[in-house]
């Protein structure tokens, strides 16, 4: 990206603008001075006036302004051209004319605001956009999480611990050790305050129920009791790292969303991020296909493959390396005896509907189609 050449181009605009301004200023000043000189001398008024007139003609203020303005205009027309060259001037070229229901879009946005804890903005939006009240339920859902995280910023774990205790069965089902890591933070907090007895008491009441699955971790924590005053230069110093708090925050958020049946990331963020990745290949395609807009409007599948990052892969997609088609229920992926995988239709074709064996396209193995197994991803 040639951002620097945009910068240079813009600096030229700035410079020329300054020159143009000071020139106008200067010219005005000059005229004022000339007139004031005439005013100050009351003698021979007429001849002075004539002299002034001549001078003004010499100064030719308008043509002076014209010169600098012309240079400024050149700079002003060059910058947008540079913008159009370096950046994509119209990303709406990748837009199909499919009308979105703005009510649905507004609901997505309102939910997004509440998910991101922009409660004020969300409330304001609901009033302004109307008819999106359904999204307000998101607000009450996420308020609890927000409050828990708010107080965690002040190192207060009580609400989070309470929530985790109330949902401990579900958390265990999901294989989350959230409760334990919350207790661990609390335990260390007490220990750091220097009260070993209290910490021990806390450990006794709270760690027992985790002994079954997390013995090693608990042993580790009990070791801390040996260093109540100098934990930071003990073998357990890493337990004090602030990243532990980040981890807990993330895990709490993840589990909270999970129990609500919500995704961890805001779905709107995910979609827009995917869209930004997808726009570039789509725009490239549109420039190649310029003029064939009609086809684009009626297609069932995007004309170009769009490779999104792995964070956007939510489903297993199998593309047969022979036919290049995506597998379907009728045309499932089949595992051949050599371990390579093709679609059923390709195997049928190559084996002449199972009547003969064939060579795997990837290795020298002879394949008998009867020994192929269907895969489920």
């Amino acid at each position: 990206m040639e951002l620097h050449c945009l910068k240079d181009s813009f600096e030229r605009v700035k410079k020329k603008r300054k020159v143009s301004y000071s020139k106008t200023h200067e010219v005005t000043e000059l005229i004022v001075q000339e007139i004031e000189m005439v005013q100050s001398s009351t003698l021979e008024y007429k001849s002075k006036l004539a002299e002034l007139k001549k001078k003004l003609q010499e100064v030719a203020p308008l043509s002076q302004l014209e010169g600098t303005q012309k240079k400024l205009n050149i700079a002003l027309s060059k910058y947008p051209k540079a913008l159009e060259k370096v950046l994509n001037p119209d990303i709406s070229k990748a837009y199909r004319n499919v009308e979105f229901d703005s009510r649905v879009v507004n609901q997505l946005i309102a939910s997004h605001f509440y998910r991101q804890w922009l409660f004020d903005v969300g409330d304001c939006f609901i009033v302004e956009a109307q008819d999106v009240d359904a999204a307000a339920t998101m607000k009450s859902l996420f308020q609890e999480l927000y409050q828990m995280l708010e107080v965690m910023k002040c190192w207060d774990l009580e609400p989070a611990l309470k929530w985790a205790a109330a949902n401990s069965n579900k958390l265990k089902e999901n294989g989350s050790d959230l409760q334990l890591i919350l207790h661990r933070l609390q335990f260390l907090k007490i220990l750091k305050k220097g009260s070993r007895d209290e910490a021990l008491k806390y450990a006794r009441t709270n760690f027992v129920s985790f002994a079954g699955n997390h013995m090693a971790k608990i042993q580790n924590l009990m070791g801390c009791l040996l260093y109540p005053d100098r934990l930071h230069d003990s073998p357990y110093a890493h337990l004090l790292s602030l990243t532990n708090w980040d981890t807990v925050t993330e895990e709490l958020t993840r589990q909270f969303c999970n129990l609500l049946g919500q995704s961890y990331e805001s779905p709107l963020s995910v979609t827009i991020a995917a869209g930004i990745q997808a726009l570039l290949p789509l725009l490239k395609f549109m420039t190649v296909m310029a003029g064939k807009k009609h086809e684009w409007q009626s297609m069932k599948q995007l004309p170009v493959p769009v490779d999104l990052g792995k964070e956007f892969q939510f489903h297993s997609i199998f593309v047969c390396p022979v036919s290049k088609e995506q597998s379907t229920d009728d045309n499932p992926p089949m595992l051949m005896s050599c371990g390579h995988v093709l679609c059923k239709q390709s195997i049928n074709k190559m084996s002449n509907n199972g009547s003969k064996s064939f060579k795997c396209p990837y290795c020298p193995t002879d394949i008998n189609s009867k020994h192929c197994r269907q895969l489920i991803f």
Binding site: L62, V127, I272
Partner: protein
């Protein structure tokens, strides 16, 4: 999920309240880790930011042009009135002094205006510069923050275009991104749109006059459409004589290029506003005003180098299409997929499916991509999971594997590797 960071620096987790200051603007690594695509991809995506840089520049250009016009006008006015003073012979000394004094004060006024204009221009140039700098500030470290701001910018753009000004303002202020969004520019549009909604074409016509040369360049018919509407309103009010005078004055000049529309609208003089003739009835429809609002928006976007559609819609459409697979509409679609939600499904309905040239397999258990590092393995029943997930399961259960979808139990040694290209 946006999460405010825990304060760092002081390496302790004390409860003392002095350490609890939290900065609102920064977001930690805990937020959006998954969504922060790699830096090179981000640099590529900067190519989509044309509007972001163009709009403040067009704004600046407009201000420069307007300021220059006033300066030029004033200077030439002064020069010519000075010529008047010197040329009139009968002028007494006193009168001459008087008119010279008024010229001077006029010039002083111009100087004040110039300074004021210079200040606004400076501010606007500053804004252009801030945006260039913002595009450069895409450090890997703050990628998630940057992405977050981008989403907010896109949302503010949507709010402004949909006339949700309060929300736009609130979002921009609470996120501290006022310099990065175009609220000021849209104030201009708001005036015109509000008036049009009240069936007042005045501000719209003034706007047309302001941007006459540029509208002419793009062969815009917007002014003509405004005039037609005013004419229609006169006919509606049965003010026929005034309507005819109005037409002579304001519609006739467009005759050369838009004769057909002109004739059609003149015919309403015969049909009146309560006509049932479909061709003319539509002209009296109050919806025509909404049409004018839309028309204005398009002209306005064009002038400022904005996309004709909100950025949000463009990105949303591309994103939904890229994410859309036949599997998204199945009941067991993972909730991390936006297309598991009804509202997203509804929007994606008319859009095409994504296209893949290569297989992409996601492990059912870990939700991670299966590749050569973490290859897929096949259970005797044909179900496929990632090596990582199966290994972990086997380690915990003495080499036994339980298929989470069918309950089948087998030995780790019974698994077969699948090679997917």
């Amino acid at each position: 999920m946006e999460i405010d960071p825990l304060p760092n620096g002081t390496g302790s987790a004390d409860t003392t309240s002095t350490e609890t200051t939290i900065t609102k603007t920064a977001t930690t690594a805990a937020s959006n880790t998954a969504l922060s695509s790699n830096p090179s991809q981000l640099t590529e995506s900067l190519k989509l930011e044309h509007q972001f840089l163009r709009v403040p520049f067009e704004h600046l250009k407009k201000t420069i042009r307007a300021n220059h016009r006033t300066a030029e006008k004033e200077v030439s006015a002064v020069v010519s009135s000075f010529a008047d003073v010197t040329d009139s012979n009968g002028l007494s000394n006193d009168d001459a002094v008087l008119s010279l004094t008024s010229l001077v004060s006029r010039l002083q006024g111009l100087k004040r205006k110039l300074d004021e204009g210079n200040r606004t221009e400076n501010l606007q140039a500053q804004r252009c510069r801030v945006r260039l700098d913002h595009l450069e500030s895409t450090d890997a470290e703050y990628l998630s923050v940057w992405n977050n701001v981008r989403l907010k910018r896109i949302l503010v753009d949507y709010m402004l275009r949909m006339s949700y000004y309060d929300t736009a303002m609130k979002l921009a202020q609470s996120s501290n991104i006022e310099e990065l969004v175009d609220i000021e520019v849209f104030q201009e549009a708001k005036k015109v749109i509000d008036a049009l909604r009240n069936q007042d074409v005045g501000p719209a016509l003034a706007w047309c006059a302001d941007n006459k040369s540029r509208l002419k360049k793009s062969k815009s018919k917007f002014e003509f459409q405004l005039r037609l509407q005013e004419f229609i309103e006169l006919v509606r009010a049965e003010n026929y004589m005034r309507a005819i005078l109005y037409a002579r004055r304001y519609l006739a000049p467009w005759g050369a290029t838009n004769l057909k529309e002109l004739q059609q609208v003149m015919t309403t003089l015969a049909f009146r506003s309560n006509t049932e003739c479909a061709k003319y009835k539509v002209l009296f429809d109050p919806k025509q005003w909404d049409f004018l609002v839309d028309q204005f928006k398009q002209e306005f976007y064009g002038l400022y180098g904005m996309t004709p559609e909100p950025l949000l819609n463009i990105c949303l459409q591309a994103g939904l299409s890229a994410l859309k697979t036949p599997y998204c509409y199945e009941d067991d679609c993972t909730k991390e997929d936006p297309l598991s939600q009804d509202n997203f499904r509804k929007l994606a309905m008319p859009l095409p499916y994504s296209k893949q040239h290569h297989s992409k397999l996601v492990c059912y258990i870990t939700k991670e991509l299966m590749d050569t590092e973490n290859p897929p393995q096949v259970l005797p029943n044909g179900y496929v999971y990632s090596t990582k997930a199966l290994k972990e399961m086997a380690e915990k259960n003495n080499g036994k594997i339980t298929c989470p979808r069918t309950g089948l139990v087998c030995n780790y040694s019974e698994l077969v590797k699948a090679y997917i290209s």
